[in-house]
Symmetry: C2
Subunit: 549 residues, 2 copies
């Protein structure tokens, strides 16, 4: 009751909880205050000499607002939202803005509904954006399509914060009618505009896009700030922009910067955290700690208009991190709305056993044979050549198939029978194959191997549920199931990280130089928007010319 | 159409308007950029080498975002909203957040509906807050009551931004049920908490109050910022806090500060502007000009979540001020949504002839006689003693009536016949009287004079419409009608300022030392929340003891 909160704030009633003797990080006035923080019914009643039903002496630890991840694809952690919550809350995250783009490409509305439902019973505050690019391109054959009309319907039906990252920059500036319909249906739209500037950026901004997490340089970030974008500084598994982008931050434009992870794998989340890692890294690089906290907490609450959240101030939601060190590497307690959600690195809640029946068994193909996947080498056909440590590929011609791997992309949603095939240069897989149902953005089956026999064995090992399988000498040596849409497990992040570690180990035995990278390549070789040559379910795709060859 | 805006931003289509060769004030990145600003369909398409159907060479003038008044009572300008728009837009104001508290006290919902309707046809963007304190105290007898139930109803029926200034601080911290109902009905609530700090401020913040325009000191402002309040730095006719409060502003907390006028008289608006005057004053005091613009434009748009407004950036509404000097004293052009609304100090639109029938003839009393207003002097009765240049009063006892003036407060809304009377020390009115239907917050008739005969003549001169009347030797020497609720004219601010000037002149002939102040005192002597003794329609009110004596 409001009156109880007010009476507690006045000191007339006991608070529910008082955190005593803290160094309180004040992101509103950019200073640190020593004192006690009172909490009543999930609300911070203020800083002062309060008494509480429960009193915790934090003994000089820092009391900071809970961290906010401004943009994340939970699916990249390969766990369900509730398991994700259990992984990130001990690391100080209390709110995330999630774009369920991957599950939407597999299962559309059912997938979205699953994510929303699964997040409901955990203390992590999960706000969803409605994915704006399902499918990512007209050449993608995923499990679902969310067009302009469906976008309107879903925005009405569920409480999305707005539209997820509008990756279809050409669609925006080309004024494609269905894209215009999407843009006009939402007040707040996430951006995705790597290396876009000048009039192109002006036009993109006019489309209603409000933020960007794809800046590669400080200069790019500054141009985007002047164009009204909030900049989400990304530090994920693949892309790490923090070191460069912090150069753009000044006390004056700080308000337009926040942190995000975009995509981060479970083992890394468990090892270093997500937003806490951004805080640590920024401080370690010599940036002002309170700048880091302001970006980690308050700024994205303002950007997304989440109400009174993101600061330790009276009347604000009691989302609080207690950390021994200002770098947030020694987080002791994490409160969400005044309730202790994690302590000493452990979540204090049990993720629910969600009903996954609506999103499982998504691999809809017949058993494949070696013949299905075989393709004779032809020196006149484009070979996809990989750049070490990059998702960017090139199209080349080779004199022989020597040292090349065979790759296939198998449509798995609608039983079209589509199988794209090509040879790949740059991985030296010997006598084995790896297959997985993670393949951005359509999440068809991507398989790569030394030969079609091993490849067929790997694909067939995925079964109806999907996941990742490693095959050597036509025998399965490692397999992890990802029954939720073929991209997520319902197991804990710890288990998933272990299983994935085993996959990586076994993958190493096939291609010692490739190892981890092989899996990443497999996940992104079908993403038809990254230059220059990709493999879709209809064959090799020339990204620059935006067509199948 | 969105596609036309996007195509213009790309440079594929001509803009509607291009402002060329400007120094563009970038409040997002805190810098000044030289260039051209393109505008299409009311939206800023960006800064660049655009071509436009209309092109205006601003020849090195500053191009700034339109000014926003974060908190204003239009009624204090004694003109209707549409006339107010014509007065402030030439001074660069494009958006105001108005609290129609005065008209609500006179005419309740009808008054609010009139204000909303009257603002509709002018280019000024007027956002209304629903007055939260009608009446201001339970001892006030105004024309209307808006209780918690009615508050909910009105919030649903009209598109208010939230609740207007919650002046009832005791009601909030006392958890008065009807006040709780009001607080719980709105997401965003304006504050009014002069000199409140510590746990009282914590409790007030917990009530959901989001801003404050009553800070008297930099220290007070800083405490409020740490408590999550946005600070509206006020520079009005009565209260002028800018010089003091700017001391609190740092590059880091700048985002929490904006400008407002609260109450400003028409002559002053015409002479110096409103928010432009804040900009000028801040810069003249040596503060960073871009800080001043950030406070004048962008910050309150963020505070009130008005969307993409308040910056000259692509995708933002084209609310633009072109000013020759950075102090904004030489404003040449003012655009609202890309349309020229004012040029060279003149509004380019005609305020509508609004239908005032629902809000006129609000003086509901019978003719008064000298006997009605007479009160024999009694040395045992409290005399209200005025402080020079202040609204704060004291209760004193006098040995004789020598040199005192007689004052009355006449209930004028519901024909209760209530007349409060007292003697007043500190004004030397000779052989005359002044009466007016402006009397905060109930707006009953306030009349002061040398004797009850002159007073009766002044009151009777007000008629059914109300306004201000000055009487000398029982003859009316000056009168201005304020037919809209007895507090506003439908005439232009220029006319109203002239008429008011004449009132002041004639008032001077009655009380040379009092002059302007007499009218101000008359307006506030009935405001039962300013210490220490006031005159209500039931007699002298002890503010400290919060009761009639």
């Amino acid at each position: 009751m409001l009156k109880d909160i007010i009476n507690s704030a006045l000191g007339n009633e006991k608070a529910d909880l008082v955190l005593k003797n803290g160094k309180i990080i004040d992101v509103l006035n950019h200073k640190i205050t020593e004192g006690n923080v009172g909490i009543k019914e999930g609300i911070i009643i203020g800083i002062g000499d309060y008494e509480g039903a429960e009193e915790v002496d934090v003994k000089g630890a820092y009391i900071a607002p809970g961290f906010v991840d401004s943009h994340v694809h939970i699916e990249s952690a390969m766990v369900t939202p509730s398991q994700y919550a259990a992984a990130v809350m001990p690391k100080g995250v209390t709110t995330i803005i999630a774009d369920p783009h991957e599950i939407a490409n597999v299962k559309g509305e059912e997938g979205l509904a699953f994510m929303i439902e699964d997040s409901r019973s955990v203390p992590l505050e999960v706000h969803y954006m409605l994915p704006s690019c399902v499918p990512a391109t007209p050449f993608d054959h995923g499990g679902c399509v969310i067009d302009g009309e469906k976008t309107r319907e879903l925005l009405k039906k569920y409480s999305f914060l707005g539209l997820g990252e509008m990756m279809n920059y050409p669609g925006v500036i080309g004024c494609v009618p269905d894209v215009m319909k999407k843009l006009e249906s939402a007040e707040y739209i996430d951006g995705h505009a790597p290396m876009i500037g000048g009039k192109g950026l002006n036009a993109y901004a006019c489309g209603g896009i409000r933020n960007d997490h794809e800046c590669g340089s400080a200069q790019e970030a500054l141009e985007k700030v002047s164009n009204g974008f909030d900049i989400f500084v990304r530090e994920g598994t693949g892309a790490k922009n923090l070191e460069e982008l912090m150069k753009a931050v000044t006390p004056y434009n700080l308000r337009h910067f926040a942190f995000c992870t975009d995509d981060k794998h479970p083992a890394e989340i468990l090892r270093e955290g997500t937003i806490s890692h951004c805080v640590d890294k920024a401080i370690s690089l010599g940036y002002d700690p309170i700048d880091a906290y302001t970006m980690a907490c308050y700024n994205s609450c303002v950007s997304y208009n989440l109400g009174r959240k993101g600061a330790v101030a009276s009347g604000f939601e009691a989302d609080i991190v207690v950390t021994r060190d200002i770098n947030a590497t020694q987080i002791e307690r994490v409160y969400k709305k005044g309730v202790l959600a994690a302590e000493k690195g452990k979540a204090l809640f049990e993720p629910p056993c969600s009903d996954i029946s609506s999103v499982e068994n998504t691999v809809n193909i017949d058993k494949v044979t070696a013949e299905d996947l075989y393709m004779p080498f032809d020196k006149n056909k484009t070979v996809i050549s990989l750049d070490k440590g990059s998702l960017i590929t090139h199209g080349v011609y080779c004199e022989s198939g020597e040292g090349l791997s065979l790759c296939a992309n198998i449509e798995r949603h609608n039983k079209t029978g589509n199988i794209g095939k090509c040879y790949v240069k740059g991985l030296d897989i010997t006598n084995g194959a790896i297959a997985q149902t993670i393949g951005h953005d359509s999440h068809n089956i991507s398989v790569i191997g030394s030969d079609s026999k091993n490849m067929a064995a790997a694909v067939n090992a995925l079964g109806r549920q999907g996941g990742i399988a490693v095959v050597k000498n036509c025998e399965v040596t490692a397999k992890m199931e990802l029954p939720v849409g073929g991209i997520m497990s319902y197991k804990s992040a710890e288990r998933v990280a272990e299983e994935h570690e085993r996959i990586v180990e076994k993958a190493k035995t096939l291609s010692p130089s490739g190892s981890n990278e092989t899996l990443m390549i497999l996940g992104f070789i079908s993403l038809l928007v990254i230059p220059h040559f990709k493999l879709g379910d209809k064959g090799v795709f020339n990204v620059d010319e935006f067509r199948y060859i």
